[in-house]
Symmetry: C2
Subunit: 324 residues, 2 copies
């Protein structure tokens, strides 16, 4: 590999001049800059990124902290972030925090030691206060903290109202909700949307709410129990994975979906099309969420103006076979 010294020699300038051209700082006259750039091309010189990052305190790398990449919501989100970052010439360090505050803090420390240029957080174990001295650009994705960081979320509250109302319009009157983990903001917002819609329909009954923790097996067990103990004609599950669990429970009890029981999920992950019947669901623009967060972070890193700090993306109902 060619060195900076060789570039300087070929261009007939000092190493310091080459460095100024590479880092685009200090004065270099146009003619000289052209010669340096030609020498870089001729020698196929690749700047040593580590040396550059030490100098610029930048590594052209960002950190992306997710709860768990094996949760089927996250692969598409991660893919979107990586795609966009790749366009802007940044690499992405992936970290799985398992929703643990300690692990998040540890990762943030490690990422800062690596001089990442920014961090995208999809968790909410840490408060804005704990993050206040983070000192690198941060964008919050999927799970908003408060208003101190740029954020991208989908409209969980509206999505939940939409799902509940759709079941009502289908004739369901005893509409149950399978709730995600109580400490996860989007799960709470979906619960709130369900609750408000049920109240406004005059159907609210707290015994219709049960916990599935975003897990298929837990949702299946909870649904079996609920269907055995009380009359339920519709289920709004807080995510598609739990909707698949509810579907299994119904089938095991000999109920027909959607004739005896309508089910609606949330997320529109690929799984929603793989079950039989296929799941009606609230579609989140997962890829767009990741892509917008990545673009926001690039703008923050590069000090460019940001038109809109907080993005709440619309969701939509996707009708399939698990509702009438």
């Amino acid at each position: 590999m060619a060195t900076m010294r060789e570039v300087a020699k070929l261009a007939g300038v000092s190493v310091a001049t080459v460095s100024r051209v590479l880092n685009q700082n200090g004065y270099v006259n146009q003619e000289t800059e052209k010669r340096v750039k030609e020498a870089i091309q001729t020698l196929n010189y690749k700047p040593n990124e580590v040396a550059r990052s030490l100098y610029k305190k930048s590594s052209r790398t960002i950190g992306l902290i997710v709860p768990d990449i094996s949760n089927p919501f996250f692969p598409e989100l991660v893919r979107a972030v990586e795609d966009v970052m790749n366009i802007y010439d940044y690499t992405v360090i992936l970290c799985n925090s398992d929703e643990k505050g300690d692990k998040e803090k540890e990762y943030i420390d490690i990422l800062k030691q690596r001089y990442v240029d920014g961090i995208i957080l999809t968790t909410n174990q840490l408060t804005s206060e704990e993050l206040s001295d983070i000192n690198v650009p941060v964008v919050v994705l999927d799970r908003p903290l408060d208003h101190s960081f740029p954020s991208v979320v989908a409209n969980n509250y509206e999505g939940a109202r939409m799902a509940t109302n759709y079941l009502y319009k289908q004739g369901c009157r005893r509409i149950a909700h399978i709730q995600g983990p109580l400490h996860v903001v989007n799960a709470l917002e979906r619960f709130r949307g369900y609750q408000d819609e049920m109240k406004s329909l005059g159907l609210w009954d707290e015994t219709l709410v049960f916990i599935g923790n975003y897990q298929m097996s837990e949702a299946k067990i909870a649904t079996m129990e609920a269907l055995t103990n009380q009359k339920i004609d519709g289920i709004f599950a807080g995510n598609d994975v739990m909707a698949a669990g509810a579907l299994k429970a119904a089938q095991q009890l000999g109920l027909r979906v959607p004739e005896d029981l309508a089910i609606i999920g949330y997320d529109n992950i690929p799984l929603a099309e793989m079950t039989t019947p296929e799941l009606t669901t609230i579609s989140q623009p997962i890829y767009d969420m990741g892509a917008i967060a990545a673009r926001l972070l690039v703008k923050k890193i590069e000090g460019k103006p940001i038109d809109q700090i907080h993005h709440v993306l619309p969701v939509k109902l996707v009708r399939r076979e698990s509702t009438r």
Copy 2:
């Protein structure tokens, strides 16, 4: 944050001595080393990883190149690599190559510019020859190249024979195979296993093979066509996603699974338990594959002896509801 200079001052030694302790090279007497380590702890000094990586040409970061994280086989593999790397204090840069040789080459260049300590490759677009001047430790995962790099794969050939033979034992005689992409080694090995087993059973018939490219929708279309045109009583799909597609096709044509048609998948991803009926499949030890590859890479990076260069992990049949 404390600086190296402050550590040196507190320990009463030179900055060069602190550097020798941190980088574990050069002679430092035991007493001095102890004092330096105490000073590091007292001041909660965090070495500047970028400066260290420049000096050591190491970044405590590895690159992980996968075809596409949104392919449901990869999240668990990626998770395993990250879990193990985290234990050894390495971070993981994730790259999606989309099975494109150009993109792989580009990522390898970028990763080398970032001074990654090693690379795990789960793709096989590049030949060993093209990788011969790569100059960083490489471990090949899931898709073997040849014998020049340490590798971890599951036994695709045996798994395919096992699946085919199981369908035979269930009474199937017209056993079709839905094949993955022709340029992917594991897809070809699964095809070879199927072919050899069918030959040894005296059932080989090339018209029973069709292409699904590891995609659900393609597999569904191919299965619809195949089931309409000829007699088939068993399907061995090259992965679970295609098995889910075959299941949909069968249900759409009014066939009962497993009574009229038995279906067996490959991989044992979470999806296999989410369909109705649940999929019988060949289970790959996906997490173990990732974890073993990560440990191999750490050993290579740290120059430790490696007992076994090539790992071919056993697979097993998981009986569920899509076979009798």
